[in-house]
Subunit: 346 residues, 2 copies
Amino acid sequence: MVKGNHMRAVTIDDVAKKAGVSIKTVSRVVNREPNVRAATKEKVEAAIKELNYRPNQSARGLAARRSYMIGLLYDNPSPNYLANLQSGVLEACHEKDYGLALNPVSFHDPDLVETVVHWVRQSSIDGVILTPPLTDSIPLLEALSQQNIPSAVISSRGTGDAPAALIDEEEAAYEMTRHLIISGHRDIAFIKGHPDHYASGLREKGFLRAMESEGVPVAPGFMEQGYFDFASGQEAASRLLDLPKRPTAIFASNDDMAAAVIFEAHSRKIDVPGELAVAGFDDTPLSRQIWPGLTTVRQPIRAMGHQAAGLVLDTLAAGKGADEERKDVIQVDFELMIRGSTATSR
Amino acid sequence: MVKGNHMRAVTIDDVAKKAGVSIKTVSRVVNREPNVRAATKEKVEAAIKELNYRPNQSARGLAARRSYMIGLLYDNPSPNYLANLQSGVLEACHEKDYGLALNPVSFHDPDLVETVVHWVRQSSIDGVILTPPLTDSIPLLEALSQQNIPSAVISSRGTGDAPAALIDEEEAAYEMTRHLIISGHRDIAFIKGHPDHYASGLREKGFLRAMESEGVPVAPGFMEQGYFDFASGQEAASRLLDLPKRPTAIFASNDDMAAAVIFEAHSRKIDVPGELAVAGFDDTPLSRQIWPGLTTVRQPIRAMGHQAAGLVLDTLAAGKGADEERKDVIQVDFELMIRGSTATSR
DNA sequence: ATGCAATGTGACAGCGCTGTCAACAAAGCA
DNA sequence: TGCTTTGTTGACAGCGCTGTCACATTGCAT
């Protein structure tokens, strides 16, 4: 029952002693504060490296009244989305020696705002990243802004003054629709995304704009409501494929629903892409793992996560507050991934 | 440029004042320490509730020399696996007011042990959860044990003395194989899992045991090496389906590889399950999203994450150290999910 | 040289909590 | 009844760091 020789971790004092300076100077170097002479800085950095010193987060957090953590808020996203995003965010955090706290919440929770604000306060979370559909909750955005909590949103509605990392959803949907039209389709159906997500509207708008600009009418019954999950996609597909004159192409607002369309087509022995072309949105791994490969819009989720975290961390580094109305919007490029599900054979 | 009316969060002093006791007593109640009179405890709890008090983690961490965080170590798992597991772990952490720190590492990193130990020390992580294949790194397990860092493993090799949450991998593979045999197959091929994972061996063993006990020989060339990812599954499937006398059933060691088999079959116009039955392992969402639905073994990953976190937190609560050789192993039930990919039609 | 701002550095308090230990109350025992 | 034992509570130090502010040093113009 040896009580573990918990050899004391190296502290700022050790570093200060070794470098022959005061702990405050070490603190300055660690926190990249100005007004440290280059020579001093080097000495300290050498000592840090030699002792392999890493500041104690609890002590830092207590003294500075912050946690050196940012929060990631999400509501039941697809595992692929979450894993990718998280990986990007984590990377950015790691670079800046920040921690990441996860907080799964519910968009429809009536106490959402209070829950989040209280969580941030009591954990001294320094900033938060919001993912859809939370990015579209005006009350939440307002509360965060008003409470002076630095935040960034992923793929937001673009409204609100939080910095954002996003793609041009409408343009992406527009181009995908054009791809279908150019491939020769005219009977194109669309499965809408979850109405809670602002992006759903943008994707729909892009679709409609392409149809209109190309002079292709949208047949009655060709706009179906979906909710971004497989089951809703399946239902929508089922209705579309039961239509007396069914579409020759279906554009679903995300990959899960597109996969469901292909699933339904398969089980009705409808050939994809021969009799039905299918397109999705997101480029999740799923799109490469089903057959035929799913044509979709690639969103660099991981990169967006990284960017968004960067935005929050920059805000933190800069003003130590979300005061100055920085309205950064990082728009990253999407890419059409053309795969088998829209292949035009003949 | 208002400096944010960061209304001071409620502290232990506020609670103590309101309850008319010393802060130490509040601390006792919060930490469920013994020797507090019931009446006192109630007073304190009332005050806590009324003020909506939650202890400051940084202060707690600093004073108690621990972080009230556990770490989740993983090496590039599938997004589905990670998301599920994490969700379970997070839930358990939440219940006990613990935080979760994520740490993606690399199994093949030569400094793995040092990296992990140092991370745990410097972040004062209180305990860790390991996921495959890290669970199979003897040096890592030994280091954690020797350094007295409470840990639990998910689906471990069962060796080592860390508590574990696992399923009977071999039995699951055995039963799945029997399912294929009973369905009338005799030409059954097997795609092995990543050799770094101990579970791969168990699944293979279960397969072989079933074949042997049913007196079904394994044809030459019917054991293929895979690495748990789609690409490797695709290569293995490709080789198997190119065989002069190809299998009528393929059992892949996980869903990603099984999906790849189905993909390959589709692209060669081989009917699944008519000409080729396919079985996987894990029951990821993918298995329901491809066509035909994938027969697979359901592992309750989320529940296992919850359990594993519970094991670590219990250790923490109990001995405040990993001293007493607790060798808990929670074995959870698996379930055969029979879907279209092994349907026996005729 | 001399003065004065700009720059660099350190002493020290204290962040909110837990561990230690001492004080005191209640209960058990002879 | 006095004494020990056990249970309950509080005073206080200090965890490792940052913020504040005072002081030391430098650069530059005079």
